[in-house]
């Protein structure tokens, strides 16, 4: 077992993990952040996307030991008292169908907007290339991100 200190959604967790523990399993099973889901388990679908030190990463493709000393934001830590503007925009534009890809989509969108606060439709589609929606509901997802970009202008990034 290896000791790791990882800040998850603002709370520091000191834990013992097997080196082979994937970050997504650590988050779900040791920290209880089941909002982060396992989708394809082959680095393709992006459902398990989290922010690792502020940048999007696929938590099925990171070992928990690699995240030692880092800060993780999951979908559960995104909202404050109110929903994050990206979450609100997904609700407003019906940016989800079955909802399984949503945690990853939302966090990828947050990452995209932090980098490019005013993306074109093409840039939104490209920025989300690491996330798959098996319902193929991309149209409303793109609309949601565009709306979030508008509502976030001049406000929280």
């Amino acid at each position: 077992m290896t000791k790791v200190s990882i800040t998850v959604d603002g709370v520091l967790h000191e834990s013992e993990v097997e080196p082979r523990t994937l970050l997504v399993h650590y988050l779900r099973e040791q920290v209880g952040k089941v909002g982060t889901v396992v989708g394809c388990d082959t680095s393709s679908c992006g459902a398990c996307t989290i922010l690792l030190d502020g940048r999007s990463a696929k938590s099925c493709s990171v070992l928990a030991v690699q995240a030692d000393g880092s800060s993780v934001t999951t979908i559960e830590g995104l909202a404050g008292d109110e929903w994050h503007p990206v979450q609100a925009a997904f609700k407003e534009c019906h940016g989800l169908q079955c909802g399984y890809c949503t945690p990853g989509m939302v966090l990828s969108a947050v990452d995209l907007l932090s980098e490019n606060p005013n993306p074109s439709e093409a840039e939104i589609r490209e920025g989300l290339e690491g996330n798959l929606c098996r319902c193929t509901g991309y149209h409303n997802i793109v609309k949601s991100v565009a709306l979030a970009a508008q509502t976030m202008k001049g406000g929280k990034k």
Partner: protein
């Protein structure tokens, strides 16, 4: 899927990492970003006894301008590389090709050195370092050595990096005045692997191409230079039709395989078409 058991060490220096690899024996493996390693571990295609994490070794990070060349630490992420002003200004071909690697999440974690040392024939960056005549620094228990890009890639997933060695940095000469570059990639989905990719650097003087360097992705077990196209382009006028003519020999010397994405004949056709596109783009046509 859950990887099989392994030990994990995170050395602070290259020397410590080399010692850890040696102590771990032949089943020890280097990990940095882990974006190639994690899929292999999960599918249990790799079952190392020890993983030596080089992601936090200072010497293996950072991007340095040496005047006539640029040195990039092997553990620099794709994100670091494509957003580096030094790379964007002096090695634009690398910045452009890196921006096409996988997707944002993987570019945030995956490393330049990792992508090279992994030696995947469909990876985009091996062709770039081959086209730009880069030099790779490898550290091992017997010291350091410099390997030219043309001698670095040996076979499918096999490079000059030995079992107890580590790729430390990559030095890429600057091209200078009159050169244009382009990475052209043909793939079937947004974040798919290259069916064929072409890294082109072309020098233009007085409306004519005076020198060309072209390397192909996924056209053999290792990246290959399209030498006959390079020769055919010398002295050619910068025009789409002349470039297309000179690109007809792009498949010479390649060993294309057939797979689900393309059979050999189609892949060879793509080499000619994508080479012409990459050269035209690099020459500003």
């Amino acid at each position: 899927m859950i990887p099989s058991k392994f030990d994990y060490v995170r050395p602070k220096s290259v020397d410590e990492a080399v010692a850890a690899l040696k102590a771990g024996g032949e089943d020890s493996k280097v990990i940095a970003g882990g974006q190639s390693m994690l899929p292999l571990l999960r599918l249990r295609l790799a079952a190392p006894s020890v993983l030596v994490d080089c992601a936090r070794i200072d010497e293996m990070k950072g991007i340095k301008d040496n005047g006539d060349s640029v040195t990039i630490g092997a553990a620099s992420t794709h994100w670091d590389v494509m957003n580096s002003d030094i790379v964007k200004t002096h090695v634009k071909l690398l910045a452009d090709a890196t921006a096409t690697v996988a997707d944002p999440q993987i570019r945030h974690r995956g490393t330049f050195g990792g992508a090279l040392a992994h030696g995947d024939p469909a990876g985009d960056l091996p062709a770039v370092v081959l086209a730009l005549d880069a030099t790779l620094e490898i550290a091992g228990s017997k010291g350091r050595r410099q390997v030219a890009a043309k001698d670095f890639f040996l076979d499918y997933f096999t490079t000059a990096v030995g079992p107890d060695e580590i790729l430390v940095s990559i030095t890429i000469p600057k091209l200078g005045k009159g050169w244009g570059t382009c990475y052209e990639k043909f793939n079937r989905s947004a974040n798919g692997w290259a069916v064929v990719g072409v890294a082109a650097a072309v020098k233009v003087d007085g409306g004519k191409i005076t020198e060309a360097r072209i390397a192909l992705t996924n056209c053999a077990a290792i990246p290959v230079r399209a030498s006959s196209v390079e020769s055919a382009l010398k002295g050619v006028a910068v025009s789409a039709s002349e470039i297309e003519k000179a690109s007809q020999s792009a498949a010479d010397g390649t060993r294309a395989t057939s797979d689900l994405a393309a059979d050999k004949e189609y892949r060879e056709h793509l080499m000619r078409v994508i080479t012409a596109r990459a050269v035209s783009c690099a020459a500003g046509v």
